[in-house]
Structure formats: C-alpha cells, structure tokens
C-alpha cells in the first residue's frame, strides 16, 4: 500500500467513526440554539464557529457527514447493483442483448445528468431515500461497462468453459464464477461511484434541490452559507473542506484498489 493510500484510508475511517459517534465527539447538539453566540468565529469553545442561530458548526458538520456519507454510499450501492446486473447480463448473454444494453448505456452517458436531477429535485423536493435512488439511478453506467468487459474476458477462460461442460446454467456461472472473479475491478468502479455520488448530492443540495431541511448535508449547509460567505466564511469553508477531503480520499482509495497487486 502506498503512503497516500494509507493516509486516505485513515482519513476515511476517522471521518466515518466521527460521523457515527457524532453525539460523543461534539459537545453540542446540531440543532441546539445559542442565541448569545450567534455568528461567532471559530474559537476554543466553538471549533468551527456558529451560524446565524448560534448553532455549533462543528456539530452540524459531523451530523451532516452522516447524511452526506449515507447518500454517497447507498447511492453508489444502488448504482453498483444496477450496473452489475446490466453489465453481467450483457457480458454473459452477448449478441443482440449485449448490443442493446450497451447502446442504452452509451446513450444514457450522453444525458446531462446534473440538469435532469436538478429539475427532478426542484419538482419532487426529494426525501433522503428518494434522493439516494435518484442519484444512484443516474450513476450505474460506468459500473455496467466494467462489469460487462470483465464478464466478457472471464467467459473465455478455461474454468468457465469447464463449468459449461459440467452442465452449469447461466445464473450459476454468473454468480459462482464470473462475479467473484470480476469483484476487484467492479469494486473499484463502485468506489469511484461513491465519490461521484457525494459530489452530485452536494451539488444538488448546494442549489437547494437535494437534501431538504430539517435534514442537513454538507451541500445544504453550503447552500445556506453562500449569501454570507464574505462575512461568515467559516460557514462555507468547513462543510466544503469536508466534501473535498472525503471525495479525494475515496478516489485515492479507489486508485489504490485498482493498482495491480504483486
């Protein structure tokens, strides 16, 4: 493992555990008002400062991490699931099915996803679970491509031919021989989907069409902070820095997983 991979994995595990244990890590509740300390700059008392209602930004960032990470991970799981199914079927069945599915995959990659999701978000005012489905359903194409090409190259190997010869059916070959061996590259594709999903969710929330109040993600914190960025910059700087650090770490870990093992 490279040094950058180790650091990224450390950052991520720290982040996930801090988000999971948010009430223990922070002295304040995320929605506790401290009207005497409104718009306070970062200090020993409030590490990341406070917002216009005197709420502790550090506590809000930690609780926002739960929403941002959950949306990123679950949306990537949705995308990975659809991608593996579509890519697996295309690679295994081949022929016209493969051609049709891959034509569909290519076509969907040419859709302006951000614009569509912004319109959907503005009209539907999505709950967090609907947002996960929306973000996941536009992010499966990359995984489908990887899953397909892995299935294609694996299905020419001897052990698959042997399984065919012993009379194994397609679902068994897919589940028992192809997918476990394709797991590595597919996992890399899903990891990169996590980073993309976190970025997409935060962008939607930044425009006010993603995570809806009272729930708050890093992106929706930035949405509320953008009008006061010159007077209370800490409201925008900290949530954004967390998005940046998270997507960077996830990408680095993905690259690390993709490195050929010796």
């Amino acid at each position: 493992m490279t040094r950058s991979g180790t650091i990224a994995a450390l950052v991520l595990s720290l982040l996930v555990s801090a988000a999971a244990a948010a009430p223990l890590v922070s002295r304040y509740a995320p929605d506790a008002l401290d009207l005497a300390n409104r718009r306070a700059a970062p200090s020993a008392q409030h590490w990341f400062g406070t917002d216009d209602l005197g709420r502790d930004v550090f506590a809000r960032v930690l609780h926002g991490a739960r929403v941002s990470l959950a949306v990123g991970l679950l949306a990537a799981a949705v995308a990975g699931g659809i991608g593996v199914i579509v890519g697996g079927i295309a690679g295994l069945v081949g022929g016209a099915v493969d051609a049709t599915l891959m034509r569909l995959t290519d076509a969907l990659l040419a859709v302006p996803r951000l614009l569509l999701l912004m319109i959907a978000g503005a009209i539907l005012s999505p709950s967090v679970s609907l947002l996960i489905v929306l973000v996941g359903s536009v992010g499966w194409m990359e995984t489908a491509r990887v899953a397909r090409s892995e299935c294609l190259s694996l299905s020419t190997r001897e052990f698959v031919a042997a399984a065919h010869a012993t009379g194994a059916r397609a679902p068994r070959i897919l589940g028992r021989h192809l997918l476990p061996n394709a797991a590595g590259p597919v996992l890399v594709a899903i990891t990169l989907a996590v980073a993309r999903s976190i970025l997409l969710e935060s962008t939607l929330s930044f425009f006010g069409v993603g995570v809806q109040p009272p729930a708050a993600s890093w992106g929706s914190m930035l949405y509320q902070a953008q009008s006061t960025v010159s007077t209370e910059p800490w409201l925008a700087l900290f949530p954004g820095a967390f998005i940046f650090a998270t997507t960077l770490s996830v990408n680095v870990v993905g690259d690390e997983l993709a490195r050929p093992k010796l």
Binding site: A110, V111, P112, I119, T203, L222, G240, A241, F244, L248
Partner: protein
C-alpha cells in the same frame, strides 16, 4: 462496400443519429412528464401569487393548452420545437430562443477561456510529469490532478471569491462586466475567477489522462527504436511521445467541451455569470418550463453533436481507426 472510404463518415453520422433521436425523445418526454406531474404544473408559480385570481389561471391554462391531456401537450410542444418555435418564457413573455441566444455568447466566452487555459496547463503539466516519472515533479502533478478531480466546483468558486475578491480585492467577485465600464481589462478581470474554476477541473482530468497515455507511449516500439538510435530523451518526448498521446486527448477535450453547456451551471451560478447556466437556474427557480425544456434539449443535443464530431475527428486524425 461500394463507395468505400467516402461513406464512412456518413455511416458514422447515421449510426449516431439512430441512437440520438430516440434518446432526445426519451429525455424530453421524461422532463416534460416531470414538469407536468408537479402540483400546479407549469403555472405553479402563479398559484403562489395572491394577486392572481383563479379565473386568470384558468384562462392562462387554456391559452397554454394545459387543459389537454399531457401527451397531446407533449406532441404539440415537440411539433413546435422541431420547427424552431421554442415557446415563450413564463417569466417575461419573450421568445425562449431569443433568451437562449442572448445568453450564449457569455457561456461560449467562459468555455473558450477555460478550455484554452486547461489545454495549455494540461500540456505543460503532463509533459513535465511524464519526463520526471516517479520523481517529485511527477508526484506534485499527480497530487494536484487528484485534488482537482475531487474538489467541488461550487466550493472552489466560493474560496476563490473569498481570497481574491473579498480579502485581497484584486478581482471582482461576480458578474461579467462592471456597469458603466465595458473595457477589455474589466471584462478579463471578471472572466479570470470563473475560468480558473472550470479550467482547474478540466485540466485535472485531462492531465491525468494525458500523463497516463504518455507513459504508455514510452513502451511503443517506435520510442524504443528512437532510443536505440541515440535520440536524446527530451526530443523523444516532444517528437514522438507527445504526438502519440495527444491524439486520444483531442477526443476527451471535445467531449468535455460539450459538457460545458450543462457543466457551467455550477460555476456560472456561483459567479453570477450571465450565461446559459444561470438562465437554467433562474428558470428552475421560477418553474419556467419552456426555458427548462429548451436548456435540457440544448445540453443533450450538444453532447450528441460533440460525440459525433469527436468520432469524425478521431477517424480523420488516426488512419488506423475504421468505423
């Protein structure tokens, strides 16, 4: 095939169109259905206005054809759209096509500036990284490119505004021109920050790509042969490696150029840049459905066209590729 080479581009165009037309139909259908499924539909913005009477809304809905079934409305919209009638903006009653055309120059200006900067930066950074593989300049370039790929555009924009506009006061924080000032210097000063944001994001992806294909090009037989002939390394890189690696980059750049119509939504919005991106966000806030439909079609259409251009350019540049 009888006509041989001459028919290849035509075939490629036909094949692309065969998928592009159904795709555009589906995308427009989905967006149309979404807009009409919303409570209040396209007139939602008027329902919230206490000054508008119910009978006015009814009249408006009849005038817009909203009392018809959704599929009839869609067919009407589509028929008008392909004839070049993109409808009228609900915000100011002006033709959507006029509003789109009026915003296009600003987006093209931003796109040209950011692609230009990104291309030059990519070329310099990737060459530097490929020449120093494994040593510190390479590591710095790779780290910077990883950072550029992960940074959220809206946050990066806010940080640049904070540093260069609010704190240092070197550059204006938003807009395209200072009212009352139209000088070139003023325009360039407004362009710098938004162009930097878009250029950084593109250069990060392109540098990673170009560096990888340059490193791969080092293993080509013609590079090995050049080395064996004793040609200096610097010359090998500039003469052979860069040339072999630039080819695939051209397609990536063209494809990303298509995304700038929709990709600029974030950057334009942060910097209040009066282009197509802000036209979209304004239309979204006001549920101006004719504008939203036009923007979605424009964004999808430009991706389709640039995909096609990229295919053709690639075939033209690389004689080994056959469609």
């Amino acid at each position: 095939m009888r006509s041989g080479l001459a028919s290849r581009p035509a075939l490629a165009i036909l094949r692309r169109l065969a998928t592009a037309v159904p795709l555009l139909l589906i995308v427009s259908g989905v967006v149309f259905a979404l807009i009409h499924a919303a409570p209040g539909g396209p007139t939602a913005v008027f329902l919230a206005n206490p000054g508008v009477r119910p009978e006015d809304i009814e009249r408006l809905q009849r005038a817009l054809g909203l009392d018809q079934p959704v599929w009839v409305q869609y067919a009407r919209w589509l028929g008008a759209y392909v004839r070049g009638d993109w409808g009228y903006s609900l915000t100011d009653n002006r033709a959507v096509l006029d509003r789109v055309l009026e915003r296009t120059p600003a987006t093209l200006e931003l796109a040209a500036a950011s692609i230009g900067i990104a291309f030059v930066a990519t070329f310099a950074l990737a060459t530097c990284a490929a020449l120093t593989r494994g040593r510190w300049p390479d590591l710095v370039v790779r780290a910077a490119s990883a950072a550029g790929l992960a940074i959220p555009a809206f946050w990066f924009g806010l940080v640049l505004q904070l540093v260069f506009a609010a704190s240092l006061g070197w550059l204006p924080s938003s807009g395209r021109v200072t009212p009352g000032d139209g000088s070139v210097i003023d325009r360039v000063q407004h362009l710098v920050l938004p162009a930097m944001v878009l250029a950084t994001i593109h250069a990060a992806a392109w540098t990673r790509y170009l560096r990888a294909s340059m490193v791969a090009a080092f293993d080509h037989p013609f590079v090995v042969a050049a080395r064996a002939r004793g040609i200096p390394e610097r010359r090998i890189v500039l003469r052979y490696v860069v040339r072999a690696a630039l080819l695939p980059l051209v397609t990536v750049v063209l494809l990303d150029a298509a995304l700038l119509v929709s990709g600029a939504v974030v950057t334009e919005s942060v910097f209040a840049w009066p282009g197509l991106g802000t036209l979209f966000t304004e239309a979204l806030a006001r549920r101006d459905y004719a504008v939203l439909m036009a923007m979605v079609m424009l964004a999808s259409g430009s991706i389709v066209v640039m995909n096609l251009v990229a295919d053709l350019v690639y075939q033209w540049l690389d004689p080994r590729v056959t469609p």
